[in-house]
Assembly symmetry: D2
Homo-oligomer: 368 residues x 4
């Protein structure tokens, strides 16, 4: 069902933007792992509202509580339940738009689907939902790091028309975190920050592109034909709020290339194998090839703008809406840990799946 | 597992490019449906190699046999097994490259994953695998059509640098099928055909973009948070051979738009509701809104080129490869029914899922 | 994975006997249901330790908190998260047996499986785990009751050698609850109570049989071939702590019958159809037939006895163990709501599955 | 969905008693296994109708064809599709009962569920369906044998009132196969054979009990809480046609035992651990403990009797039915390979699941 993801590293999330809180139940985490709660909290803090001048000013400490599955600091192999309470929900700001469908929000579609809706916020469609998957993803990162040395780094590569064009092989976590926009290119980061503030000044919003690289992913992950690695990564990304596009490797730019340009020639390297280029983004035939896994995600501008808009009310009559409340002018900076978490959940699941089919599984060496 | 897709309309496929054949087991098809086998064969014929001067000349009749689940022309509610035999497999053409990894193919990754590989063709990574999902998708199309009046049309919108830019609201099935490139814009189609032939003349290949529209999709389909409609569509598309990108609605182009430009204003229409624009591509918050569902898929150039390329052999030594055999210079024309089938499987599954949670489910009227 | 059950009414549980608490995430509950929290609490109270002189004296209020999925008293269609905190855990009583494997407990098998174990209690193998499924089952009961009028009643039919042999058609909830043993036959109940107290006096334990009837189950539930209704009920029952046997209808007693004795003749009844006998227990070919669904579950004697026993320590050396702590001498009285909850989860899941395949689904009339 | 079983060793079956044939798609079989087709055929031959004077005289060679997933005798890791054609279907014998519901068959429930039914035989409810799972189970047996040395033996322990009471530790495959009843106790076997023939002479049928032992099952298999090993075994058994009961270890007989009698004391054995008795049937807390896994399955008498019976027609009117056709007077002898196959599928799935969570997994030594 729709709130569960993963076959072996299997995560179920719950919670709405307004209500008791948000949480995740993580099944399949290998037993005996020393779980570092600070690493979970670190990613929650990176996702947290109010962390910088660029984000919504809703104040949520987003402190995570571990309810089960851990004993004396180690994972037991039983489900790990994580809970984050809501603290700064403000239903009153939604009161005026209670009977109106906010354009390009999930209000109308939620009503169409369920026949009922928690109008005190975005409910399950709120970006607040991602608290749960970021927390769960932080566990997946630890498993990936411990078992295979995998490192995942995402960054804001584009905001509006400003593109940093960073080289995935060069981007470092520290450079990303050094900027409140989470763009590792200092010059671009300043322009993006400027743009976001301008847009916010007009009560408007803006979209962008996040790129992500996963390094040291062992060759052999991905389960053809339907659960190809790209397919699962793509699903994870398109399940993020406001995501509208995904591409792997050269993606849409591969369209204009000839096969002779796009093909990644193999070459020997110190007893292992690498590809000379990485247009495939580390995935061939839906299976990782040991090169860095590289992909991009397009995010549309946030739907909540502080301008009057035409809409209809819940009775179907024409109306005008002008939302209030606290919202991000650009979701990109806070979406970076969401993208990383989504990638971690997919890769961790496939790592465990690969162990199941080949107990003797030794990853072919990955490229340093 | 990786060869099964869908929760309620659940399809399992099997088969390699060289071997006994390809097939699908379709579970969850509602009972009592008059199954039109000609419609299954029609889509297989549209996917078939050798159908035009633009495709590989492998000769496969791809005749489908129904092994179970149908009685006196009607579905029983039990699994429907479909079988298509391989007839024109030619292992000999793979003999010279048996010990070489073809660049940007799945040879190396398959070996890395399984430690074994059917070198007599692409195995499970071959586009021949899609026979099974196209056949299963043709059943899904019938269910969607019977139960909700849904119509799905895909077309080739871009080959290389040539873009047709067709309007999703205008494209008709007949126009698409009138062209061997499957581009409904006659002028663009001719240029694409020309380009593909040129590229083939050089032993090279070229990529492109397929767009798809699903009309009359009832509002309410999609299962937040992980099984949002876009997420499942995206996964289905990225599981197609050679697919490297997906976008929904404005997709990557939404990045440069302001929220005030991108938001789709609601307006009343004859007792129902529609949006004035459809930048969201018929999906908001991961749930269909009754507008046409529109998305695009990027396909890279086919990896098999008839030019010498650097690679390594299965022992890791540098080598040169020059494939032989019969391959498409451009996968796009034959990928059109694959995209439609993938979309049909996802939409049909979500239609059934929606019925389960709301037995009283009456689709809000969709836009004509 | 092992802590999730159900396809459409899908429940994930978490929590150990000693730790933060126990909980469940319920997915797929139809939206718009008026959720009666008192009914959840009622079943938790019936399962609660310390409820009578026959049970363990661990004191747990087992108050349930609803964290999500409900708004203004109604279900939203999003996941319903339920949390029950542990309050009276007593790790100290486990200290002396920390390095010993308790016979017929899960200590040794847990170590074998996970390589780690929370020795402060039974962990995930503790009957305390069933808090979560009883709470989730109480929601399933409400769905079944609202949507189909299904009523589920279980009772203690046998303790040791004392068998009540109650008629499933006659047993009422009130009669069951009138007895602390939960046996509706007053005479048998008194003997059972006596027996349990005697056994406890010797530091020993005793097993028994619970029977269960589900009335007004519509014909058509169950999904051949692997998810036959009996198969899923059986799995649900054998997943309960201490359960070692399951039978449907006549079960093991059918073995000595001829087909001519066992077959249930059909007969017309007021425009509907019933069977003259119900040896099949309401299920034929794995699908409900509209008659009462009747089955039995065998529970072994509780493994914790207060007598010295031979065992080994965690290093594999011979040792003697004499557990302390608070335990039930007979699990049967408290297992009644567990059996009902397990049945409710299975039936509710299949009710929703049936709605998915037949939107026009009208249950054939059930027998009054 | 109902025709798929298993999480990692995942089997989907299809086919009806009358139609193109029966088949299975096996996903998750580890790659590189030398697949012995003769072992698949051997189990199909043991299940085959017409194999002895005790069974139905329908003539089916049940020759299995492997359609995919195997190359040069080895498994590829891709889905293995198996197909067995129907050859001796005889729809005409069902013509007279086309509009009648056969008592204790699935005719009425199938109509209730699907609103349509293949009246030319039992459809999906026919025991013929088990061809597919026996074939798939034969692959699981090979995986279990290769990877863990597991051996599975089932036998007929009871027919009607005749019980052999064989010791699970002593029963050998050869002794079982030496008898057409498949009871390894020669004296009991003769009486059972006699009884079955007598019953058949009267146009009647009789039930019985099959016991099964799995030896050398490594400790650690089973996934609490819902997928306990007993739970999954129980589900597998209750999904067999005519199965009405399951018990693990002492099962229903544990009910009359005290904890002090039932508990299995641990003792050291040559550096490993064993239990002195095996009342638990090799499973504690839902996880295997290294001792032989022992369970029993009750089968009701076959529903098809050649005597007149009261029933109703498909319009609900009272009627009399007297079936014709070819049917077994006792399903037990042919059900032996079905029970073994079901057990193999469950154990193989859990073996793979255990590998996923513990890559370093080394089975604790099992008892010789």
């Amino acid at each position: 069902m729709g709130s569960t993801t993963g076959t072996l590293f299997c995560v179920t999330t719950f919670g709405e933007s307004h209500g008791g809180g948000l949480g995740a139940v993580v099944q399949g985490c290998p037993p005996g792992l020393e779980l570092d709660l600070d690493l979970i909290q670190r990613d929650l803090d990176r996702r947290r509202p109010g962390q910088s001048s660029l984000t919504t000013q809703r104040k949520e400490p987003d402190h995570v509580e571990v309810l089960s599955g851990v004993f004396e600091g180690k994972t037991l192999g039983s489900p790990i339940a994580l809970l984050v309470r809501n603290q700064d929900a403000d239903p009153s700001s939604y009161e005026p738009t209670r009977h109106l469908y906010r354009p390009s929000h999930a209000d109308y579609t939620t009503d169409s689907k369920y026949g009922i809706r928690n109008w005190q916020g975005g409910g399950r469609a709120s970006a607040r939902e991602t608290v749960a998957r970021v927390a769960a993803g932080a566990i997946a990162r630890q498993v990936l790091s411990e078992m295979a040395g995998v490192e995942i780094v995402a960054w804001v590569d584009t905001v509006g028309e400003i593109s940093a064009g960073c080289d995935p092989n060069e981007v470092s976590w520290d450079e990303v975190e050094a900027s409140i926009v989470r763009c590792p290119d200092h010059g671009s980061a300043q322009k993006m920050e400027q743009l976001i503030k301008e847009v916010r000044g007009k009560g408007d919003t803006i979209g962008g592109v996040i790129r992500c690289v996963a390094r040291h992913v062992p060759a052999g992950l991905g389960d053809p034909v339907f659960d190809k690695l790209e397919a699962d990564l793509s699903k994870a990304m398109l399940s993020l709020p406001a995501a509208k596009g995904f591409e792997s490797g050269k993606g849409f730019r591969s369209v204009g290339m000839l096969g002779s340009e796009h093909n990644d020639a193999f070459e020997p390297l110190d007893g292992s194998i690498r590809t000379r280029t990485n247009h495939s983004g580390g995935i061939q035939g839906g299976i990782s090839n040991g090169m860095p896994v590289v992909f991009s995600v397009a995010f549309k501008p946030v739907a909540t703008i502080f301008q009057p808009q035409d809409t209809v009310d819940t009775d179907g009559n024409a109306a005008t809406i002008q939302p209030r409340g606290r919202h991000d002018p650009c979701v990109l900076p806070r979406a970076v840990p969401m993208v990383e978490a989504g990638a971690a959940l997919v890769l961790c699941d496939h790592l465990l799946r690969q162990r199941a089919i080949r107990g003797d599984f030794q990853a072919r060496e990955t490229v340093p």
